[in-house]
Amino acid sequence: MPNTESFFYMKTNRILYSIILLSLLNVCKMNAVHDTMVLDVPWDNGTALSIKIDYEPMWKHVILEKADSSGVFVPLSVFFEGQTEYIDSDVLANAKQIYRISAYTSDRKDSLIVVKGGVATEQWFYMGKLSMLILLVLICTAIMYFISLARRGKALFIRRINGLDSMDEAVGRATEKGKPILFIPGIGDLDDIQTIASLSILSHLAQRSAEYNTDIIVPCKYSMVMSAAREVVKEAYLKVGKPDAYKEQNIFYLTDDQFGYVAGIDGIMLREQPAANFFMGSFFAESLILAETGFSTGAIQTAGTAQAHQLPFFIVSCDYTLIGEELFAASAYLSNDPQQIGSLKGHDFGKVMLIVLTIAGVIFEILGLHGFKNFFTVG
């Protein structure tokens, strides 16, 4: 019968030797993987951790695994050659997350496993957007300042915008001819600020058309825009005391399809022969098709968009074109409300500020001082 005590002693010794040997081996290997860090991605909503590994080129296959809620490691990513960082953007805020990094040599004869953990924390500010916040505060303060100036009765000068001055003339001409007005609110949905700006212009036009008893036709590409346009026109008719003259069927949904919408509008232009066409809002490749068809019918055409690349087409085919910011200024300009006009002066301050910053940026870059540019780089 073997001596139980010595058997146990031998067994324990073997295990001990194995542990020491393994530890020694791992220390050598750890030299090959210099450092592994799991860091919280700074200034974010606490849903991302950065796993950084600094390893020798001998490790050809580096696999990253992540512990799930039950502690089982599931594959997350395979590092490609030269990759040293992986951002895990699917972590819970303020909860510890464990990762396992397994590295193998190209012949898979040698391997190494490192386990590390980290916690992602929520921050109260996106530091990368500091410059954006400063600019926003400055511009908004300027706008509010000019609004308050206007409130106190200071007369503010704004330049004339021919495209907007001519609107009443266009409605008048449609009335003389006994033809309707066609208003296109662009191909953007209601979440596009250009569409909102176009609805403000529609409000003014609808009032004029109600006063002159001229029909206004508004085909829409999105049903949300149609609902808003109906409300705007209805209120405008109500405001001038002619609710009975409002025709809901004149503001309708055509189709979500871009060129189906264009085909529908072209058909209306050719059949109804409107005396005045208004294209206000967001436009793309369809702008020239619309404007040229309108041109062929001889209508007075006014366009307005902030899509810089479509402006040349409108300028060629339309009588008046509102360029970029003029579309957004239209509502304030048409309302004649001193407070709204005051806000336009705030834009001018913004423009001056941008010009100064641009010139300063150019000078700093020429001097090789990149800090200025980096400060304004949002990230």
């Binding site: 991302a48 594959p75 997350l76 990513s77 395979v78 490609f80 951002i87 953007s89 699917d90 191909i187 953007g188 949905d189 979440d191 596009d192 979500d256 399809d257 871009q258 060129f259 967001s282 793309f284 490749a285 369809e286 020239l288 062929s296 899509q307 810089a308 690349h309 479509q310 087409f313 780089t377 949002v378 990230g379």
Partner: protein
């Protein structure tokens, strides 16, 4: 003989129609030089590692397919050649069909590529910019199933894709809104994902300002010419290359029209002066 402006327009239309038709029937075979923005897009796809997941957004409908579909086919082929896996989404309702058509056409050439493993069509989602922002937070909540109604979690390709941040790059093929601009603002500016774009020739200049030092756009394919250049880089003679002859002849004809218009205006001015 005096020709009124409507007749003039009709003459222009007929001559242009003939000029476009003839090269389609009798190809000339002109080749294009690759422009820098096309090269940038090609390099972005080419430098993306094998096995990466990439996203193509089909933000157009059949009307602009002539210009954009060849781009889609070339981009998917390039990704597949590099063993990248492709997710297709659409911010336009009809984009879903365009994505299907592109995959079907390429499957004839690459029969080994498997749906759900090498590519997946997640379909259309309304909302534009809001949809992109939501995808940046959680893809599964936006697209719970693909177009074949297979649940998100059962699609092998999507196992490692939780949000937009797990995607190597996004290319939006866009004919308008929502499209490239929304992807730049949503995917790049908010989540730091690489974005490139493909658009119609008339809209392309509008996106050039986004190719800047901040890499808001990593490349831009503008119109049929860019599509033909991409085919050239891939070494294939695709639909865009075939149609480029027609486009080139039409461009030259427009120059002829401009010259005629100027001669006419000059004569008119002279006759007015003589009249005085």
């Amino acid at each position: 003989m005096k020709i009124d402006s409507q007749t003039e327009r009709r003459i222009i239309f007929i001559v242009l129609f003939i000029a476009v038709m003839l090269p389609l029937i009798f190809p000339i075979g002109w080749t294009s030089e690759v422009s820098p923005h096309v090269q940038m897009t090609y390099d972005m796809v080419d430098n993306t590692p094998e096995g990466s997941v990439v996203l193509l957004s089909f933000d157009y409908d059949p009307s602009t397919a002539t210009e954009l579909q060849p781009m889609a086919i070339s981009l998917i082929e390039h990704a597949w050649k590099n063993n990248q896996r492709v997710i297709a989404t659409a911010l336009w309702p009809m984009g879903v069909k365009m994505a299907d058509a592109a995959f079907q056409e390429l499957l004839l050439k690459y029969p080994s590529k498997e749906s759900g493993v090498d590519f997946v069509n997640l379909g259309y989602k309304t909302g534009g910019m809001v949809t992109i922002q939501a995808m940046g937070r959680d893809m599964k909540s936006v697209f719970p199933t693909d177009t074949k109604t297979i649940p998100y979690e059962d699609i092998p390709l999507l196992k490692t894709v939780r949000s937009l941040k797990d995607i190597q790059f996004v290319i939006s093929l866009s004919a308008g809104d929502p499209g490239i601009k929304q992807w730049i603002m949503g995917a790049h500016d908010m989540f730091g994902v690489k974005v490139a774009g493909g658009t119609t020739a008339v809209s392309a200049p509008g996106f050039l300002p986004y190719i800047n030092s901040q890499n808001q756009l990593y490349g831009l394919l503008g119109g049929l010419k860019a599509a033909s250049e991409y085919e050239q880089l891939l070494g294939i003679v695709g639909p865009a290359t075939v149609k480029m002859d027609s486009q080139s002849v039409a461009h030259v004809l427009i120059l002829v029209f401009i010259a005629i218009g100027n001669v006419k205006a000059y004569k008119k001015r002279n006759s007015k002066k003589e009249g005085k």
